[in-house]
């Protein structure tokens, strides 16, 4: 059983943060909210999302599992204005999702969850450095780096106590340093890893500019990017594997 009413904005934010990595996903309809975990086909980027029942206008579920084509569902959600409400109801018999937006009824055929790539195991990471900053700072770092290179280095200088972003292109370079004062919080530790901008750019799209974003980093380790949406009732954690420079 699954029946819920949610604002278009909240649903769209949730879907967008998953669709930057995968085309299809499984959605767990738990009693206390939705959960999605997915990894991209190359096993480089992972998303772990939860949307609490409190983020919905109304929410009823009893632990079902559905498979969805994300772009389909995003298209439908896109039919609503951001403030509008979207009503979702699962028909267990036909395995279809009935969606209603202001009188518009849409019946979405679901995908067999077994046909969707297996949900990833979450890596067990012990990341020594933690940086808390505004979404807008992530955005300008990624955007500037993308002008010069395909990849970006994220690190923490544990002696001088600042977080830095480095991108080196063929001719131009980008460098940004943010000290404790510029950041919301900084937990210093040895950290320097290189990441593909292809992935980071996509993840960045899903990060609201005013969100408080936590980056957990290590030395040649995946980065964990954590932020909330829907007034803190939704949580997204991205994990991105580093590029390791071949010797």
């Amino acid at each position: 059983m699954f029946k819920a009413i949610v604002s278009a904005e909240t649903l769209t934010s949730a879907l967008d943060s998953v669709s930057v990595l995968v085309d299809e996903c499984k959605i767990h309809l738990e009693e206390d909210g939705l959960e999605i975990r997915a990894v991209d086909p190359a096993n480089v980027g992972m998303v772990d999302l939860s949307l609490d029942a409190a983020a919905f206008e109304s929410y009823e579920a009893d632990g079902g599992l559905i498979g969805v084509d994300l772009s389909r569902l995003e298209d439908i959600a896109g039919m609503a204005d951001s403030g509008q409400l979207i009503q979702l109801e699962l028909d267990e018999e036909t395995r279809k999702l009935h969606i209603q937006i202001d009188g518009l009824e849409y019946t979405l055929a679901l995908i067999d969850p077994d046909s969707i790539r297996q949900e990833p195991d979450i890596p067990d990471l012990d990341l020594p450095a933690e940086v808390v900053l505004e979404g807008s700072d992530v955005n300008r770092s990624v955007t500037a780096a993308d002008m010069v290179s395909d990849h970006i280095a994220l690190g923490v200088d544990d002696a001088a106590e600042y977080f830095y972003v480095d991108a080196e292109g063929d001719t131009d370079d980008v460098h940004l340093e943010l000290t404790q004062e510029d950041l919301i919080d900084l937990q210093v530790g040895p950290a320097h890893s290189l990441f593909s901008l292809d992935y980071l750019k996509d993840m960045n799209k899903a990060i609201p500019a005013d969100a408080e974003v936590t980056l957990a980093l290590g030395e040649e380790f995946p980065v964990k990017i954590y932020f909330g949406f829907a007034e803190g009732q939704g949580q997204v954690t991205y994990m991105l594997a580093p590029r390791i420079q071949s010797d």
């Binding site: 096993n43 995946p222 594997a241």
Partner: protein, 325 residues
Amino acid sequence: MGNAALRDIAVIEEIPFDDVEGVVAVDAHNWLYRYLTTTVKWTSSEKYTTAADTEVANLIGIVQGLPKFFEHDITPVLVFDGGPSELKADEIESRREQRETYEEQLAVAREEGDELAIAQLESRTQRLTETIQETSRELLRLLDVPIVEAPAEGEAQAAHMVRRGDADYVGSEDYDALLFGAPLTLRQLTSKGDPELMDLEATLAHHELTLEQLIDAAILIGTDFNDGVSGIGPKTAITEITEHGDLWSVLEARGDSIEYGDRVRQLFRDPDVTDDYSFETSLDPDLEAARAYVTDQWGVDADEVERGFERIEESVTQTGLDRWT
């Protein structure tokens, strides 16, 4: 070339590239040939012709074709043909004759300035020259891609390597891989999109045949090494073999014959292959040297290969999250 009629018999399904894992023993001539024809068809010849007028379109082809393997973390092992078997010599001769016909037509097309015809014919007149053979091997070595030299048919050797468990798939467009006993063959490795997986065991089970019977059926239809019996297509071949048991009984019942039938059969059943090879599956390409070789030494237009080299570079260094789980 193999026999396309085998497609109607083989159990083939498209599989996602992500499901492919391990080592692919690639029939190098078959693979290179595909890239040569497309490169020549779509790229203007100055971009791969040296000052001394030597054509090295193969270098572009290799740089375009390899990233796919690297990106999916699959190890390609390129298996080169040795000397042609005696029977196949006929096929090579007839291909040579066909090429001569194309070359004559090409000369006419050039005279008439028919661009489309020129492009089409140029792609058909491609052959693996001595230079192509040598430069391909050298570039593969720089990219740390393993090479195996087959005593005869590259495809038979590739199948042998999969049977021994040293590789997971044969990579070939050629349906003959099935007859050489390749348990799993990946087709369309040179195309965009997902490959096709040809499954020997499933094929045999589907028709309730043994491999020996499948070979006999193929001989009836016709292979690279023999002309088939006229009037026998895939369906009839299977029915006849099922009914009569083997090649000779079918021929006897029909009053037909196949020249060298027993030798063709032997070529598939017991091809000339070697156990004398070794390779490492973790590759460490020297991209700088490979770039220099292709663009500086052989004068290939850097724009034509940069994307491919970048893709290799990117894929070699990108780790997967599974490393941390």
